[in-house]
């Protein structure tokens, strides 16, 4: 089940270093969001991080074969978790997203992303004899993705649902589906989107309308976007400086510790800081991806590529939300937004990435 202990010296330390830098930036940011105080967010987030570390190393030390073998089991566990959430879940802010496990509120949908990617990686690994993948072979993973998308979306958590569906589609695309099918799908989606519109809940329609025109409701739903843009815009080229972000410290920015945490960062550190942060996340994305080019096992490649992409993708979606180029759909900024489930699932992903980056493929691993 576990690797030999000495393999821990084989880890990609640059990746760990970047991860720590990003987490440290997140901590600084939560500290400034509280107006220069560890309480209530920065200290809690640090405690969580330390608490999750053993699990982090445990996942690093897992045999990839173990993960491969149990891929379906993980998916079924997650499926049970999601259904439990829907039935017994804890309701907050109009949505049922959490279940209580051993005193923690767990957001199962966060872990769905990992389980789905692992499951699909295994599925396509088994198909790797075929040159390109036809539509028929892609149907099962597509159906599974859509089922999870629906289960999460009806919580309702459309943001996470879309991320799940997108990851499923990225796996299918990456695994080599003929290009004609994604193009046709895009055409179909565009043509039926007016019908889909009617399936959205009124608050979801509202969010999209306000995204298109925040001034529709400057003190209500448009408030988030307007205030976030003011905070970011007033940061300027160099930023107002550490703890000098007036918009955030004066409470103009709602949800500043979760979805809008980037605005806090950008107001303090400006355009320069933002570009630096984007670069950090891009490098973090590329390190596992570069490793994939040296690997030949489809399972390893998909895990490394898609999970690494997942962190970068969420990062892009989140800041696009705060700067008003995407509607506010509730996607956390990895390692920077305050929240346990997101931190835990992203740490598990990093652990998996570190695990798979240290793989030596000379040994035949999967049958």
């Amino acid at each position: 089940m576990f690797k030999e202990f000495k393999s821990i010296f084989n880890l990609n330390w640059i990746y760990i270093f970047i991860l720590l830098i990003i987490f440290w930036i997140g901590e600084i940011n939560l500290y400034s969001a509280a107006g220069g105080s560890l309480d209530p967010w920065a200290s809690n987030q640090l405690i969580r991080f330390l608490f999750f570390l053993p699990l982090f190393f445990l996942v690093i030390m897992l045999e990839p074969k173990f993960i491969f073998n149990f891929a379906e089991i993980f998916l079924i566990l997650v499926l049970i978790g999601l259904i439990t959430t829907l039935i017994f879940g804890y309701t907050g802010m109009g949505a049922t997203r959490w279940i209580r496990i051993a005193g923690f509120n767990l957001q199962v949908s966060e872990f769905t992303k990992i389980a789905l990617v692992v499951f699909m990686a295994k599925y396509f690994h088994k198909l790797n004899a075929e040159k390109t993948i036809g539509l028929f072979k892609s149907i099962l993973p597509l159906i599974v993705s859509v089922i999870f998308f629906i289960l999460v979306s009806i919580q309702p958590d459309l943001g996470t649902g879309i991320i799940i569906l997108a990851l499923g589609l990225v796996v299918i695309f990456y695994a080599g589906i003929k290009l004609i099918y994604p193009l046709i799908s895009i055409g179909i989606i565009l043509s039926i989107s007016p019908i889909l519109w009617n399936f959205l809940k009124p608050y979801q329609q509202n969010r999209i309308q306000i995204f298109l025109n925040p001034d529709l409701d400057p003190l209500g739903r448009g408030y988030h976007i307007i205030q976030s843009k003011i905070a970011i815009g007033s940061g300027g080229l160099k930023g107002n400086g550490f703890l000098e972000g007036s918009q955030s410290s004066l409470d103009f920015l709602p949800e500043k510790e979760t979805d809008f945490v980037f605005a806090i960062f950008s107001e303090q550190f400006g355009f320069t800081g933002s570009i630096l942060l984007i670069s950090l996340f891009f490098i973090m994305f590329l390190i596992p991806v570069l490793k994939t080019f040296k690997l030949t096992q489809v399972f390893n490649k998909i895990i490394l590529f898609v999970l690494s992409f997942k962190i970068f993708f969420e990062f892009l979606i989140n800041i696009s939300m705060t700067i008003g180029i995407l509607p506010v759909v509730g996607v956390a900024l990895p390692f920077m937004s305050y929240g346990g489930s997101s931190l835990l699932s992203n740490l598990i992903i990093c652990a998996l990435l570190l695990n798979f980056m240290s793989i030596n493929e000379k040994k035949r691993m999967f049958s």
Partner: protein, 590 residues
């Protein structure tokens, strides 16, 4: 081998797909960066400004309003700061319990039922005033401040009017009508017309606030600047005394002005009101006042217009002298009436005055003399001279609702009644009846013009307004004849107001003219008749009693114009009041 080869191909596809996804990711990052560049670099100034506006709150503090003084620096309208317990609904859910707690801690005797009712409709963010706070109460409150989240002590500015008798001139304050106005403003009379002068400049408290409007810290304070004071020409003691002379149950007005500079020394109207009730928000009293059909808000001194009656006769006499229509010594025989066409015009004295010259005509107020003069008079000459002497015009004394009144002319009648002028109308116009409409202030000004020889000082209320003269000079001879005749009205036997010198010989000697302003035309032959059957006539049809007098008669200093609505004849009601007020003004040297 075969299987391995296809596997290698599929690996190549995976690697190609990675490039596509990496490139898409890079493009998306680039779009995000461009957007950030647009927000933070290109539109930086726009968002910076917005962020400053977001965090800066400017709170205005009301300035003290300028004080209003009488001519001797007695305060007649002042402003003071006062402290009030105010409740802010947004600060605590338990605000009502806190009000009850406050009441039990400091005995304020609050009416909870009414407070609860009014509080329900009240804005959450503006303080609702519970009660005034005295120093002892403030001290007690501060000791227990921790008990109260929603109750604060708020400083506010309040106007106070110590003398009720000035309300009809000073006016009152009202609540702001537009959201841009933050505190009360003058809405009536001087408070309104001198609003800019009195209001002052508000202070500003600049503070940094959070999104909930809670003050984080104060950045700067600009102190408010008190408004300018206003000194009036009015005299406190004269104003109060004049009000006491007006019969309680009659409507009426007294205006006293200075002959030399047009200063209005007192200007009263009855019934009156107390402006303080507006400031104290005594809603029941305000409602009663607005509904009162006696119209206490209406200042009869400058807004009330009446036919002047015989008080008008000097104008007709002056026109006659100017146009050589009469010789001051030539006598006319008054047999009690005069005839024009097929109509008789009666003198108030049915038996007639016998032989009447100009002086006697004024002194005994003979109507027939003026009828005979009017038969030769062009009405437009009357209108022109009237305008020159201050009638038929609005005197700018700093009040907005001053009326113009009317002295008719041919042009006026054509324009407004679409009829030509009849000479018969000249007859009744010349004795001050008919279309004539004058206010007590205008009559005072008319006599000021006559006494000043034609060029008269424009009446004024603001002491700091320089004295300005207007009008046209009269022939000195003519003026002397008229003034002599007016003196005779009081000083010589048979004068219509001679009674005054007999009943109060110790009073200052005055000149003047009685008048009876007709309410109903039927009683044309009964005017100024001592056998006036006052008791038989319904109160509202009784004539208005008018008198305009000046003192001392040989060196006029003060003019008093008195009207008592439905008071009866001028000599019996208005004249004694005028004599008293002139004596008071003279003896107290106001």
């Amino acid at each position: 081998m075969e299987k391995n080869k296809t596997s290698e191909d599929s690996i190549k596809i995976l690697n190609r797909r990675s490039f596509i996804i990496i490139i898409v990711g890079a493009i998306l990052s680039f779009i995000v960066s461009l957007r950030l560049f647009s927000l933070q670099v290109i539109n930086f100034n726009f968002y910076k400004k917005k962020s400053v506006e977001n965090k800066l709150s400017i709170k205005l503090t009301p300035p003290l309003r300028g004080d209003i003084y009488d001519s001797k620096k007695n305060l007649i309208a002042g402003s003071s700061s006062l402290y009030e317990f105010s409740v802010f609904k947004n600060l605590s859910k338990d605000h009502f319990q806190e009000i009850e707690k406050l009441d039990s801690l400091i005995n304020l005797n609050l009416n909870f039922e009414e407070i609860s009712k009014r509080l329900k409709k009240y804005n959450e963010y503006s303080g609702f005033s519970l009660s005034r706070a005295s120093w002892e109460q403030i001290v007690e409150f501060e000791k227990n401040k921790f008990l109260f989240n929603s109750i604060k002590i708020i400083e506010s500015k309040k106007r106070y009017y110590p003398y009720k008798n000035f309300s009809q001139i000073i006016g009152y304050m009202g609540q702001p009508t537009q959201s841009s106005e933050l505190y009360s403003k003058g809405v009536f009379h001087l408070e309104k017309s001198y609003e800019k002068h009195l209001k002052g400049t508000p202070g500003k408290i600049f503070s940094e606030v959070n999104a909930k409007g809670k003050t984080i810290r104060e950045i700067a304070i600009e102190k408010s600047i008190k408004g300018n004071d206003l000194d009036l020409t009015l005299d406190l003691s004269l104003q109060n005394y004049a009000q006491s002379l007006l019969p309680r149950n009659k409507k009426g007005s007294i205006v006293v002005i200075s002959v030399s500079d047009g200063s209005i020394l007192s200007m009263n109207s009855n019934p009156t009101f107390d402006a303080q009730i507006f400031e104290d928000r005594e809603n029941n009293k305000i409602q009663d006042l607005l509904n009162d059909d006696q119209k206490p808000l209406f200042n009869r001194a400058f807004s009330g217009f009446y036919p002047p009656g015989s008080v008008f006769k000097p104008i007709s006499a002056l026109v006659g002298l100017q146009r050589n229509l009469i010789d001051s010594q030539k006598e006319v025989f008054c047999k009690g009436h005069s005839t024009l066409g097929d109509r008789n015009y009666y003198c108030w004295k049915k038996k007639g005055h016998g032989k009447v010259n100009l002086k006697k005509a004024i002194k005994e107020s003979c109507d027939v003399y003026f009828y005979e003069l009017a038969k030769k008079t062009n009405i437009d000459d009357i209108a022109n001279l009237s305008s020159n002497l201050g009638l038929n015009k609005e005197h700018d004394i700093g009040l907005s609702n001053i009326g113009k009144g009317l002295v008719p002319s041919k042009k006026w009648k054509k324009a407004f009644l679409e009829e030509s002028w009849y000479q018969g109308e000249t007859l009744i116009t010349c004795i001050g009846q008919g279309y004539n409409q004058t206010s007590p202030l205008q009559l005072a000004t008319l006599y000021s013009a006559i006494l000043n020889g034609g060029k008269y000082p424009i009446p004024k209320l603001d002491k700091n307004t320089p004295t300005k003269f207007t009008g046209k000079l009269l022939n000195n001879e003519h003026q002397k004849i008229i003034v002599n005749s007016l003196n005779a009205v009081v000083q010589e036997p048979r004068g219509t107001a001679h009674k005054l010198s007999i009943s109060n010989p110790e009073f200052v000697k005055i000149g003047g003219k009685t008048g009876t302003s007709q309410v109903v035309r039927i009683k044309e032959s009964e005017r100024e008749d001592d056998q006036y059957k006052s008791k038989e006539i319904e109160e509202k049809f009784k004539d208005h009693s008018v008198f305009v007098g000046y003192a001392p008669y040989d060196k006029p200093k003060y003019i008093a114009s008195v009207i008592i609505e439905n008071g009866g004849s001028g000599s019996t009601v208005a004249a004694p009041i005028a004599h008293k007020i002139l004596d008071f003004a003279f003896k107290n040297n106001v």
